[in-house]
């Protein structure tokens, strides 16, 4: 994060195009513009937004072909499922949608199990049409999308990872420092998050510890887990690396972990977007488009 204009009390030129949001009288006296996100980070971020959204939606269509999840080396219709979406009833129009988790049924009519398609017709399927790609049940097309996107995702991720390593983004911005990891700092960060308090001044130039941990968990745990569990579901790849299947406890287990990891990504995105809104939606989005981020150097107004 290169400091571009330090401690400029007036509006920097980079800000000229930005419509005034806060009246000048109330504007904090200190306003600084930093270059927060490099071009590679910005590009790979937005490619990821598109690619992961479509991977998720095509993945849900693939899930719908067999909306049951198992643990172990095998798992089919007659074997115990830990998660299952089903429809109970004589016809789609009069069916009750049910999600069973560890045997406990939850009624989910309208969303999971039974839902209306784009034409308002009730259909029996796990995830609803509005969440899947293609919107109608089409395993063959969904698989083509999914594997095409998976290549884009892996290439995009490799570009990001190499850049982050070489350019120092990883070490400088993401790796927690000793001070970050002090229990007192972690507790303070948790309290700040609960109070929805966002840092200003120097502190706003760095990611806070919870933010760093969340990004690191996604980059180094969840996204790699998606790729590895995905590969473990390929019977071809399994012959090359049977140990990978064993790491997850079997192909049905890998499919379950793939599903859980996808849910964790959705959870991360929800929190991420909520934080963007809380921290200042325009400033945050602009920083991911142009790279420039405005720091308030003191508590204004």
């Amino acid at each position: 994060m290169t400091v571009e204009a330090a401690d400029t009390p007036s509006v920097p030129t980079a800000e000229a195009a930005d419509p005034p949001v806060i009246p000048t009288a109330k504007r904090p006296t200190g306003r600084e513009v930093i270059y927060r996100h490099s071009l590679v980070v910005r590009l790979t971020h937005w490619i990821n937004v598109l690619v992961i959204s479509l991977l998720l939606m095509s993945g849900l269509n693939i899930f719908n072909a067999y909306p049951r999840l198992h643990w172990g080396q095998f798992g089919a219709d007659f074997d115990k499922a830990w998660l299952e979406m089903a429809a109970l009833g004589p016809s789609a129009d009069h069916a009750k949608g049910v999600v069973r988790i560890a045997g406990h049924p939850f009624t989910t009519t309208g969303v999971f199990g039974v839902s209306k398609d784009a034409h308002g017709v009730s259909v029996v399927q796990g995830f609803p049409s509005w969440a899947t790609l293609p919107s109608q049940r089409d395993l063959a097309t969904a698989r083509r999308w999914h594997f095409f996107l998976a290549w884009l995702f892996v290439i995009n991720g490799a570009v990001y990872f190499l850049f982050a390593l070489v350019n120092g983004h990883l070490r400088r911005d993401l790796a927690p420092s000793g001070a970050d990891l002090r229990p007192r700092n972690i507790v303070r960060s948790i309290v700040d998050h609960i109070r929805l308090k966002h840092p200003v001044g120097e502190e706003a130039k760095r990611y806070n510890i919870l933010q760093k941990l969340a990004y690191l968990a996604v980059i180094f745990l969840i996204l790699p887990a998606m790729i590895l569990t995905g590969l473990a579901m390929s019977p071809g790849f399994d012959s090359l690396a049977p140990w990978l299947v064993d790491v997850f406890g079997g192909r049905p287990s890998a499919r379950s972990i793939h599903f859980i990891s996808a849910n964790l990504i959705v959870l991360f995105v929800i929190v991420h977007v909520v934080e963007v809104f809380l921290a200042g939606v325009w400033n945050e989005i602009r920083s991911m488009i142009t790279g420039r981020y405005v720091i308030r150097t003191e508590h204004g107004a």
Partner: protein
């Protein structure tokens, strides 16, 4: 002033929702376009095929399991009993009159009885069957390695694919266009675990699982494991057979290479 914020925020929300909607309908329209289908199939599908062929060049074996790991119930998928009088007549006599025709680009085309196949060297393997839908079942298979059979009849130099013609008309078509068939190339045909199985879990192959003979091409998904095999045809190209995509499900949109 905050009003301005909110309207802009509202605009952003509406924009995002609109973009999402456009994205969805756009993707559906793209999915329906044959040229885009071809684009994602060739760029993604061919890349996957090439990458796996490179990685599997050493012909590693699919994981084999212990007898104790066999699925209590092995799901029968697709056809569970071919609807044809000819097939029923064969089944009634325990398939003694059944013959496997091996022809096409081979040196010595001929027919094999079940007894002929059982007299050949056999291989038994307990493997995992992965359906394209997402479920898996473990079962034990005994049969003759396809490579052995192909060497016996001899391949002509231009032989490239092995086509398996089946007895089941999955679509119940009148013109035979719904007859099940599959194809694999010689890379998979000569893999040691590629067998024509006549027994499952120690018993003669049952009708729901493809009696009297089915293909096991481990390292690929379930729809490649053709059941009720009646004829093996060796060809140089597959694009002139039935729908031209190399298999029943391939003609209906699924990828010919099912290693993923």
């Amino acid at each position: 002033m905050t009003g301005g914020m909110f309207s802009r925020r509202g605009l952003l929300g509406a924009g995002a929702a609109g973009a999402g909607g456009l994205l969805l309908s756009g993707c559906d329209r793209l999915s329906a376009s044959p040229s885009f289908q071809k684009f994602i199939a060739t760029s993604g599908g061919d890349l996957t095929f090439d990458a796996q062929r490179l990685l599997l060049a050493g012909q590693p074996l699919a994981r084999e399991f212990k007898a104790s790991q066999i699925s209590p119930v092995f799901k029968s998928n697709g056809t569970s009993h071919p609807e044809s009088d000819d097939y029923d007549a064969l089944a009634k006599d325990g398939f003694v009159n059944w013959r496997l025709a091996v022809d096409g680009l081979v040196g010595r085309p001929r027919q094999f009885s079940l007894a002929d196949l059982k007299a050949m060297p056999s291989r038994t393997q307990i493997t995992r069957h992965d359906c394209v839908e997402g479920w898996s079942a473990i079962g034990g298979w005994t049969g003759v390695p396809l490579g052995h059979l192909l060497r016996k009849v001899g391949l002509r130099p231009n032989a490239r694919y092995v086509v398996l013609r089946c007895a089941d008309d999955l679509e119940a078509s009148l013109d035979g266009s719904g007859l099940y068939y599959e194809s694999i190339d010689l890379f998979d045909a000569f893999h040691p675990q590629t067998i024509l199985a006549y027994a499952m879990n120690g018993a003669p192959l049952a009708i729901p699982h493809g009696a009297p003979l089915r293909l096991r091409v481990e390292r690929q998904l379930g729809y490649k494991q053709a059941k009720y095999v009646m004829r093996i045809e060796v060809v140089d190209r597959i694009d002139r057979i039935q729908g031209g995509k190399g298999g029943y499900w391939e003609d209906r949109g699924y990828a010919w290479y099912a290693g993923i």
